[in-house]
């Protein structure tokens, strides 16, 4: 798995897209066991008058899982450990099962090799940034998710999920770090799921 130092990016870019192959993207991705970042997630749902915006921070650790902490508008924490989702101390299985969690972690870490069996992937370049457009190969997944886009200068700096009715959510990462080890607090949070 590869992780990278990514920069905060803005989505809209006027630079023309150039073709890029997957190996070239893979070369740019950093190889680190842990990704720590702040995030800002916006959900554009047609039924809502304005986008839902959440900010917080996340820790993604190889072979451990994901800690997703929301600071605004409400404080909450979601942990994804060993295929189980823990939401405010309650364990539940995941929407779409363990596979979906794995895909999401692969997207966050830019693990192209793991994503390839499940998506048709198109790579391109916009300015200094790479872009990947993922289309589900699997019909069942395609019915709930039409596509995933992600991009960045080194590692992924944003990802966007597109739904069949035109709704989409986009999450930007900032202050990305690649520490060699987890902090004591993070270790504790992974060790005690509930």
């Amino acid at each position: 798995m590869k992780y990278l130092a990514g920069l905060l990016l803005l989505l809209a870019s006027v630079a023309p897209a150039a073709e890029l192959n997957l190996e070239q993207v893979a070369e740019r991705l950093p190889d680190a066991p842990i990704l720590r970042a702040d995030f800002r997630q916006q959900q554009h749902l047609a039924l809502l008058p304005k986008p839902l915006t959440a900010t917080g921070d996340l820790v993604l650790a190889r072979d451990r899982g994901l800690l997703w902490t929301v600071c605004t508008p409400f404080e909450s924490e979601i942990k994804l450990i060993g295929g189980t989702l823990y939401s405010d101390g309650e364990a539940s299985t995941l929407p779409g099962g363990e596979a979906f969690a794995q895909r999401l972690m692969d997207v966050l870490s830019g693990n192209i090799e793991a994503l390839e069996p499940h998506f048709n992937i198109r790579a391109s370049e916009q300015g200094e940034e790479w872009r990947l457009q993922l289309t589900p190969r699997n019909d069942a997944l395609a019915r709930v998710l039409t596509g995933i886009r992600l991009g960045g200068k080194h590692g992924p700096a944003f990802f966007r999920l597109d739904y069949p009715n035109g709704d989409y959510s986009i999450t930007h990462l900032s202050n990305v770090e690649y520490p060699q080890r987890l902090s004591d607090d993070e270790e504790r949070r992974f060790a005690t799921p509930r």
Binding site: Q43, W68, D88, S92, G96, A99, A140, S169
Partner: protein, 773 residues
């Protein structure tokens, strides 16, 4: 040699022809029953419970499970397709699959959607009662979680309760590729294939073909993993059969060489073989005619019978070596009494086993009695005509040497009282170390590769085990309440802080409630969420106004009364596993099955069983172990009965004091054997007791022959040593078997026979008798 065929020989030929025809007729079809369980009496469960248990077990009894790897999903699916083709062309399987419908989950979603306000996951039901605000907070966390949500989904399920419910229905949904379910270990994909073997009774010839097919598939996909009851049965029967035939061959070779050397010609050897073969043929014929089939265990025991059956002809030929001048008929006149006594006491002993309440043991009794009688009749009827001219080599030196041993050995022992005391102490300690071991799992020893595959598959694809609950209630309401109560107690065991007794369970009543409770859930949802200010507040926080709230409440109101009866629910969910857990309702009530996963403390879980409350814990292996224990105990008492019966026969022939000495040979040999087992492995089981039965027959033979008049004792001693050498050679080989059952049997007999041969001259030969036997 007589020109005319003697009446005895004619009679013997008729006997052999009859037995051979009987075997020939019965040996077609499924004559060998390798299922250890068919030895046992039927299960004492109520009808309904037993039906569901049998259905459940039959689903697995004939099913094999194959996992083929691929680097990606498509490759794994393609390999699975090829595998299924290979399996289908073999004609061994009734059904291969599964071919899953990728739309299944979508259809389930659509079928249940109208009932979504009446069906909640167990966790959400609990939270709705205790802390409804937590449900709102959970929904918000989900909304702002990493996965995002589409507006369409949110509109129909604003609190994600339906999402939770669907997840509870399908806790591990496998990915599909081309309709093939896939398991994954993070690196590779494994295409899952199930194949059900044809026919309930899994015939022996097909077992071999199943193993061949498995090997062929493994050549093609070296990492293929396969498991399933038919494979275990096939592998077990295969190794037992192979070992028995290897051991049988080696045993024959050993007997043959010893005979060739000692008797300096092939005739005694061939005739002994004829006698043993006739015995086995008679045993097999009698058992097959009486019972229709023969149990593997009875066959193993029967193979051991060679050790007793060969004695009769050995005695004949040894005596002939000693007294070459006597014609065969006169030799038999001398041997008739001791041989008849040996036969009568052994047969009576074995018939005691026929009193057992277990069908398998009655087979063993029948096989032994008929087999010994057949071998004995061969010696009596056929040997005089067929034994040929007197031996050219008389082996006087060998006989003399054996005579020196049999006289010197008791004297040597008498002089070493200290050694005897130490031996007695060793015996006592050894016996003290002996504990019964009836765990049937110790006796099923599949080949290492099959066990490794089973474990690998369990890691890739966790499945329910062979231990589960069946719940019965006189009415649908009572059934539901009882299953519910069990489920709550299982929950408590799953959450225990000091180590979980099990990982999880799957019960219909967790996922489906009776219509009244569904309505109660609907009312509570209205009062505590949809009509409650906290729901209004939740929508406002998302920036939604009154029209959105009105739309949500309208959808909720319209769903009023949309309850779902059980059968309609099962149809809507359309899950093979859940449907199989439902036993249905009839005039006696309703029955269901509760699956358990990850059982780490079986006893804690088993303690929840309450048969009076219609709650049965089914643990086939555990139940079998209990029955094996009962069987062993039962058989041990019968063994005492067999000693008593044999003792009575001996007493009638020789008087009480001599009878006691004679019986002392097998008895002391058995005690020595048990003590040795106590030192060697500590445990003994049913098969050990069975071996002690054979030892009774062998020991009595040895004893009777040592107690003959002094003039014939050298010949008797040679016969006993020869018999002990040949049989312990073959049983010694059995003790190396991979099948624990066979190995235990062999080891017990090996030690027992050597002990009996050493003890016989000590006990049976003294005091010097005056009268002829």
């Amino acid at each position: 040699m007589p020109r005319r065929v003697s009446p005895g020989l004619l009679l013997w030929l008729v006997l052999v022809a009859l037995a051979a025809t009987a075997c020939g007729v019965k040996l077609q079809g499924t004559w060998l029953d390798s299922d250890l369980l068919s030895m046992l009496p039927d299960n004492p469960l109520p009808d309904r419970v037993r039906t569901l248990t049998e259905q459940h077990e039959n689903r697995f009894a004939d099913r094999t499970l194959w996992l083929v790897p691929g680097d990606n999903a498509e490759q794994a699916a393609a390999h699975s397709r090829q595998l299924r083709e290979l399996l289908n062309t073999s004609d061994l399987f009734r059904e291969t699959g599964p071919q899953l419908d990728p739309e299944q989950l979508t259809r389930r979603y659509q079928a249940l959607r109208a009932h979504r306000f009446h069906l909640l996951s167990p966790d959400d039901r609990r939270r709705l009662n205790k802390d409804p605000q937590a449900l709102v907070e959970n929904a918000r966390a989900r909304l702002f979680g990493p996965f995002g949500v589409s507006g369409d989904q949110w509109r129909g399920d604003p609190l994600f309760l339906f999402e939770h419910y669907l997840q509870a229905l399908a806790p591990f949904s496998l990915e599909l590729a081309d309709g093939v379910p896939l398991a994954t270990d993070g690196e590779r994909y494994w295409g899952v294939t199930t194949a059900t073997v044809r026919g309930g009774g899994f015939a022996l010839d097909r077992q071999g073909r199943l193993l061949d097919l498995t090997r062929r598939a493994q050549v093609r996909w070296p990492d293929l993993q396969v498991t399933g009851a038919p494979l275990y049965t096939a592998a077990g029967a295969d190794s037992a059969r192979r070992e028995i035939s290897t051991v049988g061959l080696f045993s024959l070779a050993a007997v043959a060489s010893l005979f060739l050397i000692i008797f300096a010609g092939p005739r005694p050897m061939l005739l002994s073989l004829v006698s043993v073969a006739t015995g086995l043929l008679c045993g097999l014929a009698a058992t097959l005619w009486w019972f229709g089939q023969i149990q593997l265990l009875a066959l193993v025991f029967g193979a051991g019978l060679i050790g007793v059956a060969v004695d009769y002809s050995i005695h004949f030929f040894c005596l002939r070596l000693d007294q070459p001048d006597l014609p065969p008929r006169q030799l038999l006149r001398l041997l008739w009494a001791p041989l008849a006594l040996a036969l009568a006491s052994s047969v009576l002993g074995y018939l005691a086993m026929g009193l057992a309440a277990f069908p398998g043991l009655r087979q063993v009794a029948m096989f032994s009695a008929a087999g010994l009688a057949g071998a004995w009749l061969t010696v009596m009827l056929a040997l005089p005509s067929l034994s040929g001219p007197a031996p050219a080599v008389t082996r006087q030196r060998l006989l003399a040497r054996v005579g020196v041993w049999r006289r010197a050995w008791p004297a040597w022992c008498r002089r070493r009282t200290l050694l005897l005391a130490v031996a007695a102490l060793l015996l006592a300690v050894g016996l003290g170390r002996l504990v019964p071991d009836d765990d049937v799992r110790h006796y099923q020893s599949p080949p290492a590769w099959l066990q490794a595959h089973g474990e690998r598959i369990q890691a890739l694809l966790p499945r329910g085990g062979s231990r589960y609950f069946v719940v019965h209630g006189a009415t649908p309401e009572q059934w539901w309440q009882r299953e519910r109560a069990l489920s709550e107690q299982l929950n408590a065991l799953e959450r225990r802080r000091d180590g979980r007794a099990l990982q999880g369970h799957r019960a219909i009543s967790d996922l489906w409630q009776p219509p009244e409770q569904q309505s109660a859930v609907y009312r509570a949802l209205g009062e505590r969420l949809y009509q409650h200010p906290r729901f209004t507040e939740y929508l406002q926080q998302l920036g939604l106004g009154d029209d959105s709230l009105a739309r949500q409440r309208r959808a909720f109101d319209q769903a009023a009364g949309a309850t779902l009866p059980l059968n309609a629910w099962l149809a809507a969910v359309n899950d093979e596993g859940l449907s199989a857990q439902w036993g249905g309702c009839d005039t006696q009530g309703c029955t269901s099955l509760v699956q358990l996963t990850g059982l780490s403390q079986p006893s804690a879980v088993a303690a929840l069983a309450q048969p009076r409350q219609g709650r049965y814990f089914i643990d086939r292996a555990g139940a079998i172990s209990t029955i094996l224990g009962a069987l062993r105990e039962h058989l041990a008492w019968l063994l005492l009965g067999a000693y008593l019966l044999s003792g009575l026969v001996l007493m009638a022939a020789r008087g009480p004091a001599r009878a006691l000495r004679l019986l002392g040979v097998p008895a002391l040999a058995s005690v020595s054997t048990l003590a040795a087992l106590g030192w060697l492995q500590g445990g003994y089981g049913l098969i050990t007791v069975l071996a002690l039965y054979l030892l009774l027959g062998i020991g009595i033979d040895y004893a009777i022959f040592f107690s003959q008049p002094e003039t014939r004792r050298n010949a008797a001693a040679l016969a006993v040593l020869l018999s002990a050498a040949t049989t312990s050679l073959s049983f010694g080989l059995l003790s190396l078997s991979d099948t624990r059952l066979v190995a235990d049997f062999g080891l017990t007999l090996l030690i027992g026979i050597i002990s009996a041969a050493l003890i016989a001259p000590l006990l049976a030969a003294r005091p010097q008798p005056r009268a002829s036997a």
